[in-house]
Amino acid sequence: MADSYAIESILAADCGASTTRVFLLDMVDDQYRFVACGEAPTTIAAPGNDIVIGVIQAIRQLESITGKRFLDDELKLIRPERSDGSGVDAFVATVSAGPPLRVVLAGLVPEMSVASARKALTRVPTLLEGTIALGGDSDPTEQIDLIRQIAPDVVVMVGGTEGGAVQAIGALADAVALAGKLLERERRPELVYAGNVNARALLAEKVAGVINFHPVDNVRPRLDVEQVGPLVEELETLYADRKMARLPGFGRLSAWSPVSVVPGQRAFGQIVQFVADQYGLNVLGVDVGSSQTVLASVLNGEFVLTVGSGWGVGLGAARVLSDASASGVSRWVIGEDASENEVKSISLTKAIYPRSSAMAALGVEVEQALAREALRLTAERAMPAWETDTHRPYPDLAPFWDVIILSGGFLPRQANFAQSALVLLDALQPIGVCTLVVDTIGLTKVLGAVGAIQPMAAAQVLEHDALLTLGTLICPVGTAREGDTALRARLTYPDKQVLSLDVPYGSIEVIPLEAGRKATLELRPSRQFDIGWGRKGRGAVAEVDGGPLGIVIDARGRPLALPDGQDERRRVLQKWRWDIGY
């Protein structure tokens, strides 16, 4: 519940895996505005071992910037704001620090209920550590051993349509219960069951007194029906209880806030939903952080959150390197002398010092390569959740987004926005025409939390300070011979000046259009190319937004392919960078 006094000034903390930022929002000319931000290393590990230390240090930096005092001599928040200007009226926090839920998935049919459960796991910070498939030549001893060795936080069990047989599920529950008995009480997993409702009572009986049992609605009540929502909700609750709330100092942090501390990815998702609802658009939010990558999307009104746990450009660099392979990361690196060994060394060192900054071109390249692969891996997880329809006509490609929001600790902080845009274009390969927006200060997450105590503050700061329109992306789908015209563009500026150009296949063209200006863009794609206006070859006229990037036409085709040969690959990567103004 919010405090009873009027909330004007707000401190909003975002405790990331590596960096904690605290933002000051306050009334300026009767509007809520962003005032300043302080940051410090996150302190959940030794020697700090207390998340609040990092928050206090970020507040100290904020005090040194603003000249205001927010903490008293006992390091308690001064609330409400006093007449001398010290203190704030409210404090809220989001937390993305801390480990994900470690999960073992057990199920009957890999293509059905297990696939649905996997989809649910991608929506919560989870690491899938092992899978037990029932039936076939599956050995119960191996199942028990797997659970005993992994000692997961949660076993998610699925299988069976409503009213189906329960014996197989019962046998699996025996294995889980026995594995639980063999583990120390405090290391025993929770059992979340999202299968045939008829088996609930049997399962509850089998694991009673050994493992906490959490039955939820079946993820596959019928072969043709999928409902992952209840399983996602239960996993979110377990994540909040078993992971987030157990971070050292979390209780003290929670006590500062009148509302619950929100997981960072959920708060980010709330803002993406807000933008989509407000304007009736298909919106994709992209957040590449230190230890996780998040894609929050609204497509045809349906919200989907996809969490790439462990994939990031910081603490998550080692896992990206492992899951995408060193060659997968290295393929994005031009550096003449860059060996895979060097790319690995830079990546692993970044994982040790996640807040460190690259000081050489090769270091920058490697970090951006890690971001590309983190995004690609996360997008692969998101793909099954995006329905194929008119907004997603190509099953192997992303949907047509209206707006893409770049956020998180990495993408908005590149040397220039062309670099951020190229990482996005390479990794997610958006299609059609969309507006590219950046969360320059990193406010979106905390605004999700601010909305819970003062929705007006969240809306006004989002509108005025949080998001900057970078420009318009135009990405035709199709292939042609390199150099053939992919599309013709004719831009009419507000002063009636006209710019016409033919965009060859394989290139990126940038048309300048200043921030805040709109222009009329006529696009005529060649007959092999689709820009999302009905069919291949169909052109149209649209009003487009300007920004620091201008209008970027990515005519490299979809899906994007990198040449195999080293020299040719380097030549092409370099050309793309020059094209976009890297």
Partner: protein
């Protein structure tokens, strides 16, 4: 503007307290105020045995009959190899069919006709590795050892904690550990290498049955080789060739010939624990308890550089520019001016510094 940094401990002498924990519940065999040497055992725990599944119905050829009436053991009971677990009398008990245990162990589970045995668990000892005094005992879990020690923290480590006598094979922090530098003096020692190692150098350290290896940097392509070594390896600066920072190198070098504990820490990305070298020293040389130093960056702070072409450089902060500094890679970052021992002054982004304290 105030800036906070992460911290690397490099302390010539302090009163250090470290937990030594069992991986699972077990028995702690030391008590408060006990003096322990590095080799002493502080506790024991049972390493889980192997699971063995038996099918009584098939073994006894029971068809559809209820298995439970033929099983002679209960869940929780111990069994010996060859001992009968289930028995079906046949032909007036003249030729019974029996299911016997293939292992010494315990019956841990039974479901329908499936019988699950766990072979005998293996008692495993946890050693102190640090000489000192027990100041706290967590029953069944572990103990806290207090010792006067020099403490040097590193960046990355792998393996199990160990102890041994420190031997330096690097003549300077820039040296690379090669095969020819490793001789019999490294036998059973914790070897202090240089800025990197060659593959042959690592093999040779392995042949000397070393107790541990400390390097400034490590080429990432040696990672697979390092993971397979039977002793802990600690890297002080990070991956790639890199000289050890002089503060750490000086402390380690000063204690060559002394016994040290090498803790590789835990590289868990979400809650990492720094690797460290703990070198017990006479109590008389200790000036203070290991306190929690400030992480606020100030002029006069001792720092080391963790990234960029100055990586491994250590020095003292001489200025904190008010405005961010623009670097060649095109970014502007809050920075500090560092004076190295050589007298050189360089500007380094604050995020690329760690306070040494």
């Amino acid at each position: 503007m105030k800036h906070y940094c992460t911290l690397t401990r490099v302390v010539p002498a302090a009163l250090v307290r470290r937990e030594r924990m069992l991986p699972t519940r077990g028995r702690i065999v030391v008590g408060i105020d006990d003096r322990v040497d590095a080799v002493d055992i502080i506790g024991r725990y049972e390493r889980p045995g192997k699971l063995v599944r038996l099918d009584a119905r098939t073994a006894l050829r029971l068809g559809n009959r209820d298995v439970s009436e033929f099983v002679k053991k209960r869940v929780g009971e111990s069994v010996q190899r060859g001992e009968i677990i289930a028995l079906k009398p046949r032909l007036g008990n003249l030729f019974p069919r029996a299911l016997v245990s293939p292992v010494n162990g315990c019956l841990v589970g039974m479901s329908d006709s499936q019988i699950l045995l766990e072979s005998d668990t293996e008692e495993t000892e946890v050693r102190a590795h640090i000489s000192g005094r027990i100041v706290s005992v967590m029953p069944e879990r572990g103990a806290v050892i207090e010792t006067a020690a020099a403490l040097v923290q590193g960046a990355w480590g792998i393996g199990e904690m160990s102890h041994g006598v420190l031997r330096a094979v690097a003549e300077s922090p820039e040296d690379v550990l090669s095969e020819d530098k490793v001789d019999v003096s490294c036998l059973g020692a914790i070897v202090i290498g240089g800025a990197d190692a060659t593959e042959e150098g690592l093999v040779q350290v392995g042949k000397m049955q070393a107790r541990g290896l400390i390097l400034g940097g490590l080429s990432a392509d040696l990672l697979d080789r390092v993971v397979a070594l039977p002793f802990p390896v600690v890297v002080m600066e990070g991956f790639g060739r890199c000289p050890m920072n002089p503060f750490a190198y000086e402390v380690l070098k000063a204690h060559v010939g002394h016994e040290a504990a090498l803790d590789p820490g835990c590289p868990d990305p979400w809650r990492p624990r720094r690797p460290e070298v703990i070198i017990p020293v006479p109590v008389s040389s200790v000036v203070a308890s290991e306190s929690q130093p400030e992480t606020l960056l100030r002029e006069g702070c001792r720092v080391r550089v963790v990234r960029g072409d100055r990586r491994g450089l250590a020095g003292v902060v001489t200025a904190l520019p008010e405005y961010p500094v623009r670097y060649d890679v095109g970014v502007s970052l809050p920075s500090a001016e560092i004076q190295a021992d050589s007298g050189d002054r360089v500007l380094v982004p604050v995020n690329n510094l760690e306070i040494i304290g």
